[in-house]
């Protein structure tokens, strides 16, 4: 298991895994979209219920990705492993993107169902806070030049932001909100009809595979970025005739 944490082994592994993962993701999305648009409309919401098939997977992923980043942050703080740094850096923009999809599609679902695009209700507000935490993490990564220091600072912010996860999950139980309570992962089983549940589960699996594929690709990019930075510094230190003057000029101009 630990051998996969070696960046070179990881690069070789992603090279083998990515084509299959991308193909499986595309196939599952094709099946999920077919099921989503052939499923019967909801007896109350009508066709509008089809927004659920993208909104709910995005909502699940917004918290799932934060969990992944939190585990990577522990890897950074406890083992100071460069792959853990890369995993948390690569995950933040993906988490922000899925949270944005969740917020916007939820808003587009809310207007015809609740009569408003937005209310400052506990679930919606806590997800907005999650989105802001993701943006904060991206900003932090971009503002600290030394990747090791940036990783440690981002890891601490990630662990602090973790407080929001139970609030997102249980907000619908703790407070009176416009948002409906949990209807899939709950004690007593799902309350959704199987005709609507199956397309939802397939779309959720497709979205999770999409995240996994993009996360592996983004981690690979981070490993390459570190190699580029190391080689650039080596070239500058050795007085490379091509690279060093270009770096010096850029430094003076900044």
């Amino acid at each position: 298991m630990w051998s996969f944490a070696n960046p070179t082994v990881f690069l070789a592994l992603t090279r083998r895994l990515l084509p299959g993962l991308a193909l499986a993701t595309a196939g599952l999305f094709a099946l999920g979209l077919y099921l989503a648009f052939t499923a019967p409309p909801d007896y109350q919401q009508g066709e509008t219920v089809r927004i659920m098939y993208i909104h709910v997977p995005a909502a699940w992923l917004s918290t799932f990705i934060y969990g992944v980043i939190t585990l990577a942050s522990l890897g950074t703080l406890v083992w100071r492993h460069p792959l853990a740094d890369a995993a948390q850096k690569a995950g933040a923009p993906l988490g922000a993107a899925f949270t944005l999809i969740c917020l916007v599609t939820g808003s587009l679902w809310g207007k015809p169902m609740w009569g408003t695009y937005w209310v400052w209700d506990a679930r919606l507000t806590s997800v907005l806070v999650l989105f802001i935490v993701y943006l904060g993490l991206i900003a932090l990564w971009r503002s600290i030049e030394d990747p090791g220091r940036a990783a440690r600072a981002a890891a601490i912010l990630t662990l602090v932001g973790c407080v929001d996860l139970p609030i997102v999950k249980f907000s619908v139980d703790w407070w009176n909100t416009l948002h409906q309570p949990a209807s899939v992962f709950r004690l007593g089983g799902p309350t959704i009809a199987p005709e609507l549940l199956w397309p939802l589960l397939v779309m959720a699996l497709a979205s999770t595979l999409l995240f996994l594929t993009l996360h592996l690709m983004a981690i690979r990019n981070e490993i390459l970025r570190r190699r580029v930075a190391r080689l650039t510094m080596l070239a500058a230190a050795e007085g490379d005739a091509l690279s060093a003057p270009r770096l010096a000029t850029r430094g003076l101009g900044a």
Partner: protein
């Protein structure tokens, strides 16, 4: 289905999700190309220097 009330909201939601997903994929692929190109250039320069 398309004549149903509020179907525009369904289309808008799927279109937005598609745009964000395509933007994510595009950004990651573009970054991969940029990093691979930079790495190839640096390694070529290094190999050339070691040879001399």
């Amino acid at each position: 289905m398309m004549a149903a009330p509020h179907f525009g909201f369904v289309v808008a939601a799927y279109a937005f999700a598609l745009i964000v997903v395509l933007a994510m994929i595009g950004a990651i692929l573009w970054d991969y190309r940029a990093q691979s190109e930079a790495l190839r250039r640096l390694e070529a320069a290094r190999t050339g220097r070691d040879a001399t």
